[in-house]
Symmetry: none
Subunit: 283 residues, 2 copies
């Protein structure tokens, strides 16, 4: 699980002002920076004023920036010398080298899965394994990953459907869901209103909901009583990387397969056989 500071940010993220969010974002992405940097530097890194920084920490419930630093330090000591992979700084020219890329990806993967609580993962897998039907949704750039996850799950159990990318038709599609179904939403930042709407709907219809998202949205999703799988997606550049999201999908599907057990394996083998037959029969 993340630091106490990260938890507080996740809880209050939406109530923060835009520039406070910018800074909060940075702190979620690079928690170790708090130990090494002064508040002034943190403000400069994120392009906000010192005043905004001071306000943020107060709004998060601390008396002081010093409180924040002390807490962070105490937590570091409790966890012991963390052997985590540091996220590289942005190069001035924004050029991505292969080693930097590797390091960024490793850092995100490591943080994602070291923070992931097995019981949360298992709860999510249980919901998917036990559901009548499973619905997978992913808007925009996440759509590709959602499709990938859908195929993985289809290999393991029947009744897995995509919700169309056209948000306008979601009401119709969701109308046919029942309380025994499960809904998986892939939604990293930026968070759209549609997602909130769907989550609210899901809660009222008691649809079991699993949200795969990034730390800035965990709080929002959790408040809608969804099971949240948290993925780190930040890079030193302005772009995000969805690698850990895909990896999470992979792990989720594997865990569901484990839950289901023998029948999942049988289904997988059947599909593999079919694929082979088609391949050899087709030109």
């Amino acid at each position: 699980m993340g630091t106490r500071l990260a938890l507080r940010i996740q809880e209050r993220y939406e109530e923060l002002t835009p520039s406070e969010q910018k800074l909060a974002q940075f702190l979620l992405d690079r928690p170790d920076e708090i130990l090494a940097s002064s508040a002034t530097e943190l403000a400069r890194f994120t392009g906000v004023s010192k005043a905004t920084a001071a306000r943020l920490f107060r709004n998060l419930g601390y008396n002081d920036f010093n409180d924040v630093r002390l807490q962070a330090r105490e937590e570091r000591n409790r966890t012991g010398p963390v052997q985590q992979i540091p996220m590289p700084q942005a190069a001035v020219d924004e050029t991505v080298t292969v080693p930097t890329h590797l390091q960024v990806e490793s850092a995100n993967l490591t943080r994602t899965f070291e923070e992931l609580r097995p019981d949360v993962l298992n709860a999510a897998a249980e919901q998917i394994a036990g559901a009548g039907r499973v619905w997978v949704a992913g808007l925009g750039i996440e759509n590709g990953i959602a499709r990938y996850l859908r195929i993985l799950l289809t290999r393991v159990r029947p009744g897995v459907h995509m919700i169309s990318e056209n948000a306008a038709t979601w009401p119709e599609e969701l109308a046919s869901t029942g309380p025994n179904d499960a809904l998986i939403i892939i939604a990293v930042r930026p968070w759209t209103k549609q997602i909130s709407t769907v989550l609210t709907f899901a809660r009222t219809t008691r649809l079991k909901t699993i949200v795969i998202t990034d730390p800035t949205n965990t709080g929002k999703a959790r408040r809608k009583e969804a099971t949240v799988l948290n993925c780190h997606v930040s890079t030193p550049w302005s772009e995000l990387t969805q690698t850990s999201v895909l990896s999470m999908a992979q792990l989720l599907a594997a865990t569901v397969a484990n839950r289901i057990g023998g029948r999942a394996k049988a289904r997988r083998d059947l599909i593999a056989d079919l694929a082979e037959e088609i391949e050899s029969g087709d030109i």
Copy 2:
């Protein structure tokens, strides 16, 4: 390999005064403390005065305590050689645990990008950046990732198209390509005949072709004179993981963006603005 600070201390240790040694000792024992603590605190921890601390750093050849801190920070960011991560063995019961999953993913990522030659990556990026139009293809489970890559590239340059998932219509679609176009195929094992067919076609029409694939197919693809980006995808189980494939897509898109330079950034910003407008205008 120790830090540069540690090396300097070791060199001059005997020449230091007793209270300086006390402090120096502490710094050798807990090198990370420098990042987190002020000089005053370091002095207090070791029971010496602030003045002594200031003198120590000067005696070690630094101008300033700030110099020391900056150097330490820089060293933290520039992390040493990446350690080789071993691929775990299959557990008997085939159960995937979170730590195992992380290790598998790290191992694949590391191998993929440590083997990746920057000149090959750059050649691929160059072809995509310079092409008239870009076509992206991915069959079956790779389709999701292909879509993801398409969106990434679309953010960076115009004229990026998906080739439909229905292989039967490929002849028609490919017929409209020209020798100035580029074709990106995502195809990990199992390799289908369709892919061979397309690659042959691409070679005869002098279509620049980039194949993202796994080591079992590299040879086949290379023989068709395609630029090959090799991804490690194996797991201790029977399933594959496409995480490194997605990561490769990410890196490829970033590299293309770098190639294109300013215009890519302008386009990205434009798209981000549009997205924001749509989001706020909707509902």
